[in-house]
């Protein structure tokens, strides 16, 4: 893996440079995943202290970005476990669909699925998505990572990432439509009152 930081400067300087560069993106990622600003700050703190512990252990970090995202992602998963949210297996069992079934990928590209989506509403409704979809949607659209990077990060194949993105976007669209419907209903009620 090519180093994204040059070798000049001490470990501390490179580490603090990584903090300056990635603290905000990591914080943003954590907020969208957890919907809890205070907890997100704590997780970013833990991400950096863990990364420092790794460096102190004599390891070298070649590229800080994927490394820090990986550490944070693990911490978010731990946090979900603590909160006892629905596991991926449970979710798949409820849906009765295996992630190995990729037929639905032919039902429309990501471009088509996002075409009619309102970005503002989508960013607000990400928090209401199930964790398993929120993970890939945040990584793809908030953090701007490509399917390959997401696949490396969450240790799933690119196909699985694509399937989750499709399902997540469809669900997001249905959430947006439901929200709009609720809005319309309210407006109709106000008018009649």
């Amino acid at each position: 893996m090519a180093k994204d930081e040059n070798n000049l400067g001490s470990q501390e300087e490179r580490f603090l440079k990584a903090f300056d560069e990635y603290a905000d993106p990591l914080f943003r990622h954590a907020v969208y995943r957890l919907s809890d600003r205070e907890r997100a700050i704590e997780l970013v703190h833990d991400t950096f202290t863990k990364a420092w512990g790794y460096i102190r252990g004599g390891h070298e970090v070649d590229a800080y970005k994927p490394f820090l995202y990986k550490v944070l992602n693990n911490l978010v998963i731990d946090e979900y476990r603590k909160r006892k949210e629905v596991s991926l297996d449970e979710l798949l069992a409820q849906e009765g669909t295996s992630e190995g079934d990729f037929d639905e990928l032919h039902g429309g590209s990501i471009e088509e699925l996002t075409f009619a989506l309102d970005a503002k509403q989508a960013s607000e409704l990400l928090a209401s998505m199930p964790p398993v979809y929120r993970e890939v949607l945040v990584l793809r659209f908030v953090d701007g990572l490509g399917p390959k990077e997401i696949s490396d990060l969450i240790e799933e194949t690119e196909n699985v990432v694509s399937v989750r993105l499709h399902r997540g976007l469809k669900l997001l669209r249905s959430h947006i439509e439901a929200a709009e419907e609720r809005g319309n209903l309210k407006r109709r009620q106000w008018r009649t009152e």
Partner: protein, 446 residues
């Protein structure tokens, strides 16, 4: 797609850390880095030996250097002076004998810390900490090959001084507050146990003189042990306080510990919880038995709680548990201790009733096998037949013990064990007699 991508990013990117949040987070991380510096001199070191310039100071100097005006220079000088006042004592904490800042550590930091000691009990704890610090410094210097005779003698003298001061504090407590003296003794004794184990395991590393001083201090503590025992309530309060501290420490280090280390520590916690539960049961039964004696007093519970004449078993169990927790805390907080001593040496595993039963059954089977081996060499067919019949009976008892274990019938297990030990004893005696008095019991077992 591009529009959705860029739009959603635009909205999402409004979410960022506030300036204050960001600064605070950065400071916390810098502080963490200072508390956990890189090993092997990766941290920038000034030309003065051992003077580590903390990152916060470096950052501060870098920022202040941006000022070019006179006001800026004055501010920079002021900030630098304050930073120096704050960071020098902080940096001195890492110093070892021979370092430029060592005198700041022993002549400034430690006397200042001593001002916060408010009670004779705290004084003992403080002197214990200072003694541990000096031992750690000796080990560090020895590891680096820098422990010369003069430094070793100075450190040994200092260690002796702190150990004597702790012991003196305990003795003085004995006259004013015997219970606190007994608890302070447990704490001091645990620290000495750990240090003795570390020094024994690193023979030659920290110097024989220092090991001798620590061993002597341990001897003095053991010899002068209090006859008074702490009350159940006082001990339980200390045990709860220290257990909470140990759990917090464990939570802080558990992600960086290996699975084996985690399992080892978790096992000790489980052992301690069992001991505490057992002490609670013993205490409850003591209260129930003593009800008639104390009912005459106005506050029966208080009377029992402050009971301190003869040590009942619950108090013994809690005292031992408190000592174990202290050792576990030292093990978790001191990397040198972790690297030099196995946890089992400091806090041995206490078998659960289930494990104990397994060990007993294993022992019985091994003894039975030894007997079988011996009778194969015997010539007297009548005696062999007699012993074989007894061994068959032993097999049947073993089966009933296993069946009772499956059912969880404790009484039946106890009964079967007692019968098996009696039978096995008789069989082994018979075998010994046949070996014309030349074999000993232990040889038979072999």
């Amino acid at each position: 797609m591009k529009s959705f991508d860029s739009d959603i990013k635009k909205y999402a990117h409004k979410m960022r850390l506030g300036a204050a949040e960001r600064n605070e987070l950065r400071e916390r991380i810098v502080a963490y880095m200072e508390y956990h510096p890189l090993p092997h001199g990766d941290t920038p070191v000034d030309t003065r030996r051992g003077f580590v310039l903390p990152i916060a100071t470096k950052t501060l100097i870098a920022r202040v250097s941006h000022f070019n005006t006179k006001v800026g220079t004055k501010i920079a000088a002021g900030v630098f002076a304050v930073a120096l006042l704050v960071t020098v004592p902080f940096a001195a904490e890492q110093a070892a004998p021979g370092d430029a800042l060592y005198l700041v550590k022993t002549r400034v930091n430690e006397p200042v810390l001593a001002q916060f000691v408010n009670s004779p009990y705290e004084k003992v704890a403080f002197e214990t900490t200072l003694m541990e610090r000096r031992i750690a410094e000796a080990r560090l210097l020895a590891k680096e090959g820098k422990l010369d005779e003069k430094t070793e003698a100075a450190l040994a003298l200092s260690i002796e001084g702190h150990a004597n001061a702790a012991q003196k504090g305990i003795n003085s407590l004995k006259t004013s507050d015997a219970e606190s003296a007994a608890i302070a003794e447990i704490t001091f004794g645990s620290a000495l146990d750990v240090q003795t184990a570390v020094l024994d395991n690193t023979v030659g590393e920290a110097g024989e003189g220092i090991a001798g001083v620590v061993r002597e201090a341990k001897f003095v503590v053991d010899a002068g042990k209090s006859t008074t025992t702490p009350s159940y309530a006082r001990l339980m309060a200390h045990v709860e306080q220290e257990t909470t501290r140990a759990f917090e420490l464990f939570n802080a280090i558990k992600n960086s510990a290996t699975p084996e280390e985690r399992a080892n520590i978790e096992r000790r916690f489980a052992d301690m919880q069992r001991k505490i539960a057992s002490a609670q049961e013993q205490y409850a039964s003591r209260v129930a038995q003593g009800e008639s004696d104390v009912s005459a007093t106005s506050s029966d519970t208080v009377a029992l709680m402050t009971m301190s004449a003869k040590a009942p078993s619950d108090v013994d169990t809690l005292s031992a548990t408190l000592g174990d927790i202290k050792k576990l805390i030292l093990f978790m907080t001191d990397i040198d201790v972790r690297n030099s001593v196995a946890l089992d040496q400091l806090v041995p595993v206490v078998p659960t009733p289930e494990e104990e039963l397994t060990m007993q059954l294993k022992d019985i089977k091994a003894r039975k096998d030894a007997v079988t081996k011996h009778i194969a060499e015997m010539g007297n067919a009548a005696v062999v037949a007699e012993i074989e019949a007894q061994l068959l009976e032993l097999d049947s008892l073993l089966e009933s013990a296993e069946a009772a274990r499956t059912k969880g019938d404790t009484e039946a297990i106890e009964r079967a064990l007692s019968e098996m030990y009696a039978l096995l004893g008789a069989v082994e005696l018979r075998v010994m007699e046949r070996k014309e008095g030349t074999a000993t019991s232990s040889q038979v077992r072999l």
